[in-house]
Structures are given as structure tokens and as C-alpha cells.
Amino acid sequence: MIEIKNLNRDWGDFSIKNLDLTIQNGEYFVLLGPTGAGKTLVLELIAGFHQPEKGYISFNGNNIDSLPPEKRNIGFVYQNYSLFPHMNVEQNIGFGARMRGIKNPKIRDMAEYLNISHILHRNPITLSGGEQQRVALARALIINPDILLLDEPLSALDPRTQEDTRKILKKVHEDTGVTVVHVTHDQTEARVLADRIGVMMDGGLMQVGTPGEIFNKPVNNKVADFVGVENVFKGIVTRSNNGMINLDVYGNNICAISNYEKGETVYGCLRPENVTISKTEFESSARNTFYATVVEMELMGVLLRVKLNMGKDFNINSLITRQSATELDLKPGDRVVVSFKAAAIHII
């Protein structure tokens, strides 16, 4: 268990103010926030690269502030990978073992696990971003760290590689049970990976909770503005046919464009302005039409955010004009028809 108590630290343009945070062992914790919020500084404080000015950090009940970084048994993966450019991939991965005097580290096993055994003798600068990221991960994992710190691990990658890397991170966490602290500014990434999310802004934590809590019940406007843009839902592929998939989301059958295979778990993203509400069913090119209940209506300037429940915990937001709400005579509790196009869903 990582316990951060009343942490304060200024460094360059960044500052952390009175930060309290507890992260359980084995948890996948995501620190989500805009650029400049001080997220990386928190990671560097946990790793011991900086010392707190006030407050302390403890691990499993022991204050670790006086431990130098090399004694903390923490894996750190920087956004720019920070591979040693004068060593090949194998030497990079083996560096931790070499520093600890471990003979015969299982470099090959780790490389196979992360699917980089074919590049062991390459120089890091000749690798693609995704490959470099996997090497950095291998290098950090081979020392069996208690905590894995990830600094924006996906943000320098192209979308396709992001997807692969996300899967690898999930697998690593499941297989090793390592405690992960993952820093990102991307809410979708946070949603998809996190057990719990801490929303960080201006050097402080605004809200800590499960993805459901953060995205459905943001504590204030700032958090809502930052996380409130998209509908993100998790589903299992029940059918995949020529680029079209059917997804089961809490019993709803949702149609989308993607090449995922049957049985895979995926996330769908849907912008609320693309969700149409009507009172009666109709035939159209929108492939997804469902009955739903209006849960909540919130005024946002000239628009209304309508929160719709589509059964169980499946909530979806729609953004409609006030005029539409008046014409449809929409009230909380109403039974309505919700429709959105398969092409409007972005599958990750």
C-alpha cells in the first residue's frame, strides 16, 4: 500500500500542494489530469528522484522518504522511454540485473513475454515507438518491482500501437499483480485501464474513485469539464462479420464498425451530440435504436445534457437543444427511443 500524506513539493513550473492519496497493493491506479497538473512530479516523488518539501510517502507502512531510488524496487517507464542509447536492447533489459549483481537474468523469457525477442540485438534508436515502449517495460519489469510507474506511456504512440500497448499493460497487470501508477491526460485511456482514477489539477487531487464514479459523478465543474465529453462503454463482441461487429453491453446489442474478433472485450466511444432522442420508433439508417429512460436533464447553455439509462448500469448522455426538449416534452422518468449510428461509434 502506497500512502501519500500531505505531500508538498515545488519543482520548476510544477508544484504539488497538500496531496493525500492511498493506493492499494495490486491496484491499477491512473492519475488523470491536464498537462502541467504535476502528475509526473508525483511519480518522480514516489520513485525518489525528488524529496518532499512537506509530508511523506510510505510503502506498506514504512516511510520511504530516506530511501534512495535504487533501494525502492520501483519500475519507472518514462514517456520518451529513456532507453540507454549506448546499449542494445538486451543490455538495456539486463541493466537492472547487472546493477543488482544477479547472474543469468531471464532476459529471453521477458523478451518473449513482451514479443521483442527478435530485436534483442538492435540499438534502441532504430526501433519504433511501440517497440521502444515494450523494451522500457521489459527493462522495468525484469527487476520484479513492487510498484510500476508509467509516465504517459501511450501518448507518443500512434493509435494502432496505443491499442496494442494498452492490451500489453492490461496483461502485465493481470499476470504480475504489480501495483501500477499510470499518469495520463487521456480520459479514455484512464477509463479503459484503471481500477481507480485520481483526477489531478493544479497540483492537487480533485477526485479519486472508480471510473464509474469519476465519469458519472464528477464532484465539480472542473472535473466534469475535463472528463465529461464522451460516452465510453465496455462490451463483449458477440459477432464479427466483414468489419461490422455486434457488441453486448449490459444486454443491449450494439452495432459498430471494427475488426475485433468474437469474444473480445472492447470499449466504444460515442460523442453525446451524436445520440438522437425520439418518442416513437422509426426506421432509419441509424443501426442502433433502444428504449431508454430519462434519468436526469442538465442545462448546459443553449444545450441540455440528457442522461439516459438503457438498463442496469448502462447510462448514456445525449446533448440536445432546449427547443428539442420542449417539442418532445421531455421529463425525467420518460420512456424514450434512443438512436445512434454504427459509424458514429469509435471502438478501441
Binding site: 528522484f49 520501483i74 518514462y78 529513456s82 527487476i143
Partner: protein, 248 residues
């Protein structure tokens, strides 16, 4: 038209440097090749040149031992008075050479603050130790500055990564920072060595004897004239330029 004038300036400057050096070398080879052969066979010439190279090497070694840690601290740490420390370390570059000689003689001479207590162990005045100290004084900033640039060019996050992997600071320095700055360290060492060998004013005041190359050139020049000293100058410049080209 402006570029033509600019190219003219460049040509004059280039011509000035190039013709000055090549004229000396070519004239020696063409008009007095036997003098050059004689110099090569003169053991006092060879000894002086060797002493130049060797004391230059020792001065560079000392500069390296003192300058590399200094450069690392200046590149990585912020502390009070850093700017002033940097300025002081740079002063030797601009101190007139004979002033440096007087200053070194004052402190390393037989009655000097350092020379006096050490007299029974090591003598500086008119000894190789004096030559090395004089060379160290004028050449250390070249290595320190180049090393600092080198360390600044290494991303501190690489050190952080190494430390998180279990490397104490000294191992992170030794296995990551140092090798990555090695090109700058090499360039700085070459510059330092070249500057050490080139020194004349400070060296002759503290240690006229044993004679290094530049001193022997001067001695022969004053006692026997240009034609007797030039072969040594040509030999010294050819030897040092050859070593630079090999090292680079």
C-alpha cells in the same frame, strides 16, 4: 555584393592562418630539410618535445580528475554562488600568461604558500612538477567546459531510469552518464592537452628547466636565431597536429 565582401574577409582570415603555418613548414622542408633531420637527431630536442607531450598528458590527467566531477556538479546541481564559481574557474583563460607565471611562482615557489610546506616532498620551481602545475592552471577550464556541455547533453531521466533499476548514483554516473558524455570528454581532453602543450609564458616563469618544446624553441631562438629554432617549431607542430588528427 555583400556576400562577395564577406567571402573576401573569410579568404583573408583563412589565408592569414593557413599561409602563416604552411609557409613556416614548407620553407623549412624546401630550403632547409637537413636542419629538420638534424633536429630529429638532436636528443635534447626530442627530450623537450617528449617532455611537452608527457607533462601535457599529466596536466590533462589532473584536469580530468578534478574537472570531470566539477563539470558534473555544474551541469546537474543548482547551488548558491554557482555563477561566481563558474566565473572564477574560467579566469585562467583570460589571465596574461606571464601574470599566471608570477602568480604560480608566488604560491608554488620555495617560499610560497604551497611551495614552502611541500618543499621536502616535491619541488615545483624548475622541475617537471612546476611545468605540470603551470599547464594545469591554464588548460583545466577547457576540459571542464567541454565536460559540462557533455553532461548537460545527457537527459537526466536516463540517470533516473538507471537509479530506479537499482543503480546507486555512482553506478548511474559510471555506466550511463559518463559513457554518453564520452565524446565531449574526449574533445575536451584533446583541447586541454593541446592548450597545455602550447603554454609558454607561465611555464618558463615557474619551470624554465627541464625545458619543454616551446621553451627550447625560445632558448634556441634567442641564442642562435630563427634558422636554428624553426626546425624544432616545425617538428613540434607536426607531432602535435599528427596526434590530434589520430585522436579525433
Amino acid at each position: 555584393p555583400m556576400l562577395v565582401i564577406f567571402f573576401l574577409s573569410l579568404s583573408i582570415l583563412l589565408f592569414f592562418v593557413f599561409i602563416t603555418l604552411s609557409n613556416m613548414i614548407l620553407q623549412q622542408i624546401v630550403t632547409d630539410f637537413s636542419g629538420l633531420i638534424e633536429a630529429v637527431r638532436d636528443s635534447s630536442v626530442l627530450e623537450a618535445i617528449f617532455l611537452s607531450l608527457y607533462s601535457g598528458f599529466l596536466a590533462t590527467l589532473l584536469s580530468f580528475i578534478l574537472g570531470v566531477p566539477t563539470a558534473y556538479l555544474l551541469a546537474r546541481k543548482d547551488f548558491a554562488g554557482k555563477r561566481i564559481i563558474e566565473s572564477i574557474l574560467d579566469i585562467p583563460v583570460v589571465v596574461p600568461h606571464t601574470v599566471a607565471g608570477i602568480a604560480l611562482l608566488t604560491i608554488f615557489g620555495a617560499n610560497g604558500l604551497i611551495g614552502d610546506p611541500l618543499e621536502s616532498i616535491v619541488r615545483f620551481r624548475d622541475a617537471m612538477a612546476g611545468t605540470v602545475v603551470a599547464m594545469l592552471f591554464v588548460s583545466a577550464p577547457y576540459l571542464t567546459n567541454s565536460a559540462r556541455e557533455g553532461f548537460q547533453s545527457v537527459d537526466p531521466r536516463l540517470e533516473n531510469a538507471a537509479r530506479s533499476l537499482g543503480a546507486p548514483l555512482w553506478k548511474a554516473f559510471l555506466f550511463v552518464t559518463f559513457p554518453l558524455a564520452s565524446r565531449h570528454l574526449l574533445t575536451g581532453s584533446i583541447m586541454c592537452w593541446a592548450r597545455a602543450i602550447s603554454e609558454f609564458g607561465a611555464v618558463i616563469m615557474l619551470a624554465y628547466y627541464p625545458m619543454v618544446g616551446p621553451t627550447l624553441i625560445y632558448e634556441r631562438f634567442t641564442s642562435m636565431g630563427l634558422s636554428e629554432s624553426r626546425p624544432i617549431a616545425v617538428l613540434l607542430i607536426l607531432v602535435t597536429l599528427t596526434i590530434f588528427v589520430i585522436l579525433r
